[in-house]
Symmetry: C2
Subunit: 466 residues, 2 copies
């Protein structure tokens, strides 16, 4: 497009047309909403913080050196921005560590096409997996599309590597729904395959794109079932392996994984706040999880959510808001493989004398926010919907009943109102849990808008209650 | 985020809460809406077409070989997909051609910091600019932030290069507004600078990001004012030049531009349709512009809009819709530097006996659609708002009064109802008119959703009228 005539009319026009409740929003709230927008977009500080986090602590899996660095760094970020009561809340976390890993197709000279010989398959151990033997496993591959098909293999699975290869359903508008429709292969695939005698599993990466990056993520074992090694395979190589299986009767692969589960390590949730001026013991939490997988930089998952929480408080301070209630940023530790931070927070000794009003999590990536989920009943939803026009000012007025977040779930289980940021989600699983999740995939303005939405909702709850 | 619990409730819940008119939408329309979504997302054919266009005809400025290739290619795309009455509508278009171009800071040994010596500045001629002398221009640079400041230079501008350096206003939520607030420097900068005796202008690139890519775009001359050469300078180098001007009194640059304006060339709008089954002479146009600047590949601007128009018709055919009225895809030629295609369409001989009902343009990039503008009065808006819940199914329910598009403007001036797709816009000007505008910046799902929105609106207008 060429000329400057392409302008949207101001949002107020559209709001008045479609949302009669626009009239009821107080003028001072509109003023705060506008100030947050202007102040946030001017510097996009969430992005500069995220860049620092990604560069200094790219790998932040619980128990790792990166996680420890991230704890210190975010504590420093909060302190430097003048937050109140910045402190660590100690927890013990699991310590799973990836080692060397390799996988290739074992050539069968007489039948395998020349081009496929010795082809390397890009794989990575799934989180929590045990290791293979030192020399790796050499076994025949059998492809299935579901846990059901794996069970149905019966004797045929014995001694083999079960290859779960059901792709994302591309026709889902919401990619989280496509993820939800495929992720049982990762979470329960090893259990079902072991039951029928398989020696390992390869699981198609949880993404809708085709590339050579494996996507890790937590897998599970059952106490009563033999543990077998489990790896994610890139979608490109999953497709190639599947094609080869169609062409020839027998395909054998070599798979070597060497992860270790080490003793638990001391780590922490990182906490800082703006203490409420009138009701300091009534608390609104805003947060994300500081740990991430040991692939990429955890930029979208969930460095974004952490930096947005810090920036939300930073913005409120910058524009001079002194909230009635306490607004608290929490960097939860260990969402990815245990949620120890989320479970510890509501029962920590520091909670004594506190009453929590709400918790707002951002853990769906740093893309432009469309709105937020409300985890509660329709009465709560109706209360929040009176503020819809204010979020329309950010083009983020989609407010709907939905999920809050893993980290805040234990807190919400105590009856606290929950909120989950809803960013644009089409690109999220292109990056998620893989080497693709790096800072260059994050747009500073889109990330900042999430922080602005969080700041505004926390402010409104602080001033008006729920 | 780790687990699969993060689900949005189905959109219907949210729609019923916030949009009571949801009840009034006919079930058959919902069914069509769902089919379009499923069929579109399954293959994302708009993207594969766009990839082909970008690879085969990356530079499609009017009059160029690339533009001619694009005309043939899109005609072929429509024919292969079984569109009715695929044809070209001939027009004459301007033919401006970029040549070599270079710009560097002329070292002043005694005062310039060592690091700045002979530094190259990334520039490109603005569209329509005349050339410099064969040896280039060597002149002192004077920086201004506005046309007003340029005028105020008076005698001080004489013999100098005026450097317009007002950046985008980052605080605007809508980047098109930031663009609109800066683009007068590009469109009128040369005129105002020439009036006060300047020999050339350098204009800060029209983008909010800082990088070394100059962004071109059309500039204007006035009949009564001397023509002087005009170039865009990358934002990175604009900042560096500005810093240098602060440090030392005198900065001279060498600027060489060698564009030519050649005789007009025959080109065409490319037209194909699904002829209406009941009212074939009542026409709904959907389109974008096929020409683009000679930088990058014109992926977002506006290959995206063209491919979405073809895909919109393709989707309707795929799901078996036989529209009552004619739905027509138009690839307009020459939006960027003349809008000859847009102007020719309403008065072409082929229009005889036709009545146009609506025109829908996509020319704001291929990012995820948020909704669409309605160019018309509030009566028209109210009519369209009854369909809002259907577009909510695509998370694209923002329907508001606003601009349609450059190409369709001449048609809208005849009283036709206009519509302009509203995609997410934060990243658009990062790419616009520069080498950054390439196919890798386009997400297949996001692009496809735009086509789905277009298909749905065209279908609704066809079946229900306006």
């Amino acid at each position: 497009m060429n000329c400057s005539r392409f302008f949207l009319l101001s949002f107020s026009v559209c709001l008045i047309v479609s949302h009669p409740q626009a009239q009821t929003v107080e003028l001072k709230h509109k003023d705060i909403a506008a100030k947050l927008l202007e102040t946030g977009l001017r510097n996009c500080e969430a992005f500069s913080m995220l860049k620092e986090l990604c560069e200094k602590a790219p790998h932040r899996l619980s128990g790792s050196e990166g996680a420890a660095t991230a704890v210190e760094l975010t504590k420093k970020m909060m302190t430097e921005r003048g937050f109140d009561k910045v402190h660590l809340e100690s927890i013990m976390v699991p310590h799973w560590m990836r080692g060397e890993e390799e996988c290739w197709i074992i050539p069968e000279a007489s039948i395998m096409p020349q081009t496929m010989r010795l082809q390397r398959l890009e794989v990575c151990a799934l989180g929590g997996s045990i290791a293979t033997l030192d020399d790796g496993i050499q076994a025949e591959v059998v492809e299935v599309k579901s846990l059901q098909e794996a069970k149905a293999l019966g004797e045929k699975a014995k001694g083999k590597i079960v290859f779960y290869n059901r792709p994302f359903d591309a026709t889902k508008l919401n990619t989280f729904e496509a993820y939800g429709g495929a992720v049982d292969q990762r979470s329960r695939g090893a259990i079902e395959a072991a039951k029928v005698g398989a020696v390992a599993v390869l699981v198609r990466s949880m993404t809708g794109i085709i590339d050579d990056k494996p996507h890790t993520g937590q897998m599970n074992y059952a106490d009563t079932v033999k543990k077998i090694p489990a790896a994610a395979i890139s979608t490109l190589h999953a497709n190639q392996l599947s094609e080869l299986l169609k062409k020839q009767k027998l395909v054998k692969v070599h798979l070597k994984l060497t992860p270790q589960t080490l003793p638990d390590v001391e780590s922490a949730n990182v906490v800082g706040e703006i203490t409420g001026s009138e009701k300091p013991n009534e608390v609104i939490v805003v947060g994300g999880h500081l740990d991430c997988w040991d692939k990429g930089q955890g930029a979208h998952d969930d460095g974004a959510g952490c930096m947005q929480a810090i920036e939300a408080l930073n913005l409120l301070k910058k524009i001079g808001v002194k909230p009635k209630r306490t607004i608290r940023a929490v960097m939860f530790m260990n969402e990815e493989n245990g949620n120890r931070g989320g479970k510890a927070y509501p029962v920590a000794p520091e909670r004594k004398g506190e009453a929590h009003i709400a918790a707002f999590e951002s853990d769906a990536g740093g893309h432009a926010p469309r709105g937020f989920n409300v985890k509660g009943d329709s009465t709560l939803l109706q209360k929040v919907l009176r503020w819809k026009p204010l979020f329309g000012m950010y083009d983020a007025g989609n407010i709907q009943i939905g999920y809050g977040g893993v980290d805040i779930s234990p807190l919400l289980d105590t009856g606290v109102a929950g909120f989950g940021l809803l960013p644009e989600n089409h690109r999220y699983f292109d990056y998620h849990h893989s080497d693709n999740d790096t800072i260059d995939k994050v747009n500073p303005r889109e990330l900042e808008l999430g922080a602005i939405v969080e700041a505004m909702l926390c402010y409104l709850i602080s001033e008006e209650g729920l």
